[in-house]
């Protein structure tokens, strides 16, 4: 019976390794995730798209002002299904970083995303967004061209876009700049990605009145994938392996989710999306919100 014995031993060894790996993962601090999510050379949106489909065609411009290299967009196919991809683009090296403004979009980036999303809606293509940005660009031109208005429009239009939208936070999910391409039917995060209302540095200097307390701030802000899963803000966490393996995991989710979502009547899809967003927030003394929303849904139906 030595075989069984060996097998048991192997099993217990494997279990032990798993425990070590798991505990190592558990010990990873929020700040570790912040650093990993920002790491130079981390796989970006464009790389993931190209790892997932070999026929990606990039499209450019917002038709209003210009083309923002910090936002990449276009069409590709996965398993025969045409998909519109949109993603923040930080660039793979220093030269590209500068060219893409470190993934910080100007209004034209968000307006390009909006144009491509509407185009996807028109042709019944689902949309997949990859989020990886420190935030929208806080510069003169960005303000002059209405970065606030651009993000606001995206939030509104994506909320009722009549085609499935899947969002993946693959690195930094920085505030409104991330949310600008982050409203969809499903939201996933890579294991080491972060998502927050402000950077830990910003939080530390404004609320803790000490910029050096960013590490502490990262912990307090609860910005890791695990935190957000607990809050019910994201649907699931995706394990990070090699770029090719991670891309495969994401691809599997895209195929699985789109098989389900594309089969649903688009009206139901939009309603479910709005209902999900409507429910986020914690207050005391609030009232039941479902019935009024249902009534509004009925009303929009009669108007159609």
């Amino acid at each position: 019976m030595s075989e069984i014995k060996d097998d048991t031993m192997l099993k217990s060894t494997l279990e032990r390794i798993e425990t070590i790996v798991t505990s190592a993962k558990e010990q990873k601090s929020s700040w570790d995730c912040v650093l990993l999510s920002r790491q130079q050379g981390r796989t970006g949106a464009k790389q993931y798209i190209n790892l997932m489909c070999d026929d990606f065609m990039e499209l450019h411009g917002d038709r209003l002002y210009g083309d923002d290299p910090a936002m990449v967009g276009g069409i590709g196919t996965i398993g025969g299904r045409a998909i519109t991809f949109i993603g923040n683009h930080k660039g793979a090296n220093f030269k590209e970083n500068v060219l893409c403004n470190y993934g910080m979009s100007n209004p034209e980036g968000y307006r390009k995303a909006l144009r491509l999303a509407k185009q996807a809606e028109k042709f019944g293509r689902p949309v997949v967004c990859f989020i990886d940005t420190p935030g929208a660009y806080p510069g003169l031109g960005s303000e002059e061209r209405g970065i606030g208005e651009a993000i606001a429009q995206n939030l509104k239009v994506f909320a009722t876009l009549k085609t499935p939208v899947l969002c993946f936070i693959i690195g930094e999910g920085g505030s409104g700049g991330a949310l600008g391409i982050g409203v969809g039917d499903k939201l996933y995060m890579l294991e080491n990605a972060v998502y927050s209302v402000i950077t830990p540095e910003g939080f530390a200097s404004i609320l803790l009145r000490d910029p050096s307390k960013a590490k502490e701030a990262a912990e307090a802000m609860k910005m890791t994938a695990r935190n957000l899963k607990e809050f019910g803000v994201i649907h699931d966490i995706i394990a990070e392996k090699s770029p090719i393996e991670t891309a495969q995991l994401i691809k599997d989710i895209i195929i699985r989710d789109l098989d389900v979502l594309c089969a649903k009547p688009v009206e139901n899809l939009v309603r479910y999306r709005i209902r999900k967003i409507r429910g986020i927030g914690e207050v005391s003394g609030g009232k039941e919100w479902w019935d009024p929303l249902l009534e509004v849904f009925k009303k929009t139906e009669s108007l159609r």
């Binding site: 806080p138 003169l140 002059e144 061209r145 409104g176 949310l179 409507r278 919100w289 108007l303």
Partner: protein, 259 residues
């Protein structure tokens, strides 16, 4: 009661006597108004009925010190949070209003502000009553972490429902309106009004100066600048506010074919 008060103008540093419009007679600085002062400028007398009176903020990410901060602000401002919503009449016309207060934690949008704005919008959708929102905010309430960011999506998706039910949304931007409020419902009005001289933008002036490493040009992000850039329909003085809103309400009656 005489509606006179004296105050120090933060803009020109002069001691000034203010009437109910609360505008500095020397430099035209618009002092912030409390919700009741605002209502007395625009609403028919005694027509306001507040909604969601009992709603209070909680501490969703269990951040140390947030509860104390809330209590302190409630005491200081005699408000329950940074927005008050309700229904009132303007020259006899029924509307839903929301009035933000910068004096409560910088008008920051947490779950309560997001929920109340959303409720106000839904209420408007249900009855086809115009929704009028007065904004004043430094942005998202960081103390509520990701929940504050999500309020942007929530209020904006509610605004999408206004679209579908053809209910008008009028925004009045007051000083200051920045951050997550600008990047959500504040920029989604059918008509966007602004009070003179209000700072309106996404990133705050100091953040931009930090990015570009130079001082901002005079008047950058003010109402007049935003009017010139096309993000505001018109600048309205407090004396013209009631009649302007009344005109807008009249001209935005829902006309739905086959209704």
């Amino acid at each position: 009661m005489a509606n006179k008060s004296s105050a120090l103008c933060p803009q020109c540093q002069k001691e000034v006597e203010l009437d109910s419009h609360k505008i500095c007679p020397y430099c035209n600085f618009y002092f912030p108004l409390t919700p009741s002062e605002r209502l007395s400028l625009i609403a028919d007398e005694d027509s306001f009925v507040e909604m969601a009176v009992g709603m209070r903020s909680v501490n969703p990410i269990a951040l140390a010190g947030y509860e104390d901060k809330l209590k302190e602000n409630q005491k200081k401002s005699s408000l329950s949070d940074a927005v008050s919503i309700g229904k009132c009449r303007i020259e006899g016309q029924d509307v839903v209003v929301g009035i933000m207060s910068f004096s409560f934690m910088g008008g920051s949008m947490g779950s309560v502000v997001g929920e109340k704005i959303t409720q106000a919008i839904i209420e408007g959708c249900l009855n086809g009553e115009p929704v009028i929102l007065f904004t004043a905010s430094g942005g998202a309430r960081m103390q509520e972490g990701i929940f504050s960011l999500m309020q942007m999506a929530k209020t904006a998706s509610a605004a999408a429902l206004l679209e579908e039910t053809r209910t008008p949304l009028f925004i009045v931007l007051t000083n200051p309106t920045t951050g997550g409020v600008t990047a959500s419902f504040a920029m989604l009005g059918d008509v966007i009004l602004a009070e003179p001289g209000a700072v309106i933008g996404f990133a705050g002036p100091r953040v931009i100066e930090g990015t570009i490493r130079e001082k901002l040009p005079e008047g950058f992000q003010r109402s007049e600048f935003q009017l010139e850039r096309g993000f505001v329909d018109m600048i309205v003085t407090r004396g013209k506010l009631r009649s302007t809103l009344s005109y807008l309400i009249k001209t935005h009656t829902r006309r739905i074919p086959n209704e």
